[in-house]
């Protein structure tokens, strides 16, 4: 029979508890910024381990004896409110967490917050959030495929305190290695010289190793629904970009007209939308041509009047 908890009552190795406790102490009592990074290749169970850690930090596991824990289902994290998928969702849910007094927030699919887009407005916003999130007294768990894509300034500032690298996973359990902030600097340094970047984890001695188990069925289902929904959204966002579709804003920018002019012209010419996504109409190249013809026509008419 598949196990969901170890003999201790926890879904992960007992040694990780010490570090999570320290993280909690740091944030809630010492009032310092703390972030936990969970890094691992795609499909190794980053979100699963993140939700296990978040459950523990949220007080979902009560200590009965020194090596025995009990699950308190009411105190497990609310996945709807404490699991943010993508940066925009994260900023929104950080506020919700602060207002409702939640201790922990998971920032999953953090691939959108990367160093390649260092100069983007979005990155600047998230960077700013990480500078001030200390005030909210919230522990952030960041899940991403490779922590190297993170903005280096964040590591220099000492915001991430702990790195959990998931090495492997099979159908029963997953393996992870734990690194401190000090180790993170060495990992980064070794990566500079290596061709296979992940070898850096093999060459740096971890603080500890451990295992984690799967989420119980009903919780896995709940997580799947939220997670898959977001992944579908990401997919459709990408689809729109690939198709080369334009919204009103894009058309207005291209044609040098106001958005209201565009919408009026659209109604007049009865151009059908190619796709409607999140209450927004998207049009293809054809619409662009028709509109530019319309502009030409208007210009000629105005010119004729002038003569």
């Amino acid at each position: 029979m598949k196990r969901f908890y170890y003999d201790t009552g926890l879904p992960f190795s007992l040694s990780l508890k010490i570090d999570l406790d320290d993280l909690k102490q740091r944030t809630l009592i010492e009032n310092k910024a703390s972030m936990l990074i969970i890094d691992g290749l795609i499909g190794l169970g980053k979100t699963t381990l993140a939700s296990h850690c978040a459950d523990y930090l949220n007080g979902g596991y009560e200590q009965v004896t020194k090596r025995k824990f009990k699950v308190i289902k009411e105190k497990l994290i609310d996945l709807q409110k404490q699991l943010a998928l993508g940066g925009n969702d994260f900023a929104k849910k950080l506020r919700i967490c602060h207002e409702e007094g939640f201790v922990v927030l998971i920032y999953d699919e953090a691939g959108d917050f990367n160093s390649r887009g260092a100069l983007t407005k979005f990155n600047a916003m998230v960077n700013r959030v990480f500078e001030v999130f200390r005030a909210f007294k919230v522990i952030v768990i960041l899940c991403l495929p490779s922590f190297t894509s993170l903005d280096k300034s964040l590591i220099t500032k000492g915001v991430p305190r702990l790195l959990i690298h998931i090495t492997d996973r099979n159908q029963d359990y997953g393996d992870y290695k734990v690194y401190s902030l000090w180790h993170i600097h060495y990992l980064l340094d070794k990566m500079k010289k290596l061709v296979v970047k992940t070898d850096s984890f093999r060459l740096t001695q971890p603080v500890k190793r451990g295992h984690f188990l799967d989420l119980p069925n009903e919780r896995a289902k709940e997580l799947d629904e939220i997670s898959t929904k977001s992944k579908l959204e990401t997919l459709e966002d990408v689809e729109i970009k690939i198709d080369g579709l334009f919204c009103y804003n894009d058309l207005a920018k291209r044609l040098g007209r106001s958005i209201s002019w565009i919408s009026k012209a659209m109604n007049k010419l009865h151009i059908p939308a190619k796709k409607v996504w999140k209450n927004r109409k998207y049009f293809d190249d054809n619409a662009l041509e028709v509109l530019s013809e319309e502009i030409d026509k208007q210009v000629k008419q105005e010119g004729g009047k002038g003569e």
């Binding site: 570090d19 993280l23 734990v178 690194y179 401190s180 902030l181 180790h183």
Partner: protein, 141 residues
Amino acid sequence: MVDFNSEGTVTTAPADVLKILILEKREYVMEALNNYNVVKFRNMNAKNNYIKAGILTLWFELKAMLLNSVTKREKMSIDNREEVLTKELLDSVYKKIDSDKWSEAFEFLNSYLYMKGLTKVDTRSHYDKSRVSAINRQKGL
């Protein structure tokens, strides 16, 4: 140990040379103590004149440093308790050298050397290497 004819010594800072000289004198006392004990444990009549002479030399070597510590009113652990160094305390130590309590006097001078960092080699800090937060704190992060 210190060769004053060597060019290396001439170019070394006086403070560093003096440090070695002090350690050298402490070493003489230690050796004398060893010889004393060897004879003593043979159940023979051991003489402590070498030890006393050594401690006295060490005392005069450290005298300026001790007096400096008195004016600064530095604290020192004596018999597992902390005491401020005073002139009276130093006088009592000096008296002990010539009496049977020379071992107490040597202990005092030895702990004084440790306090000043001359014999302090156990400076490497130990921390829980299985604890991430302890590592980060130790490395100043």
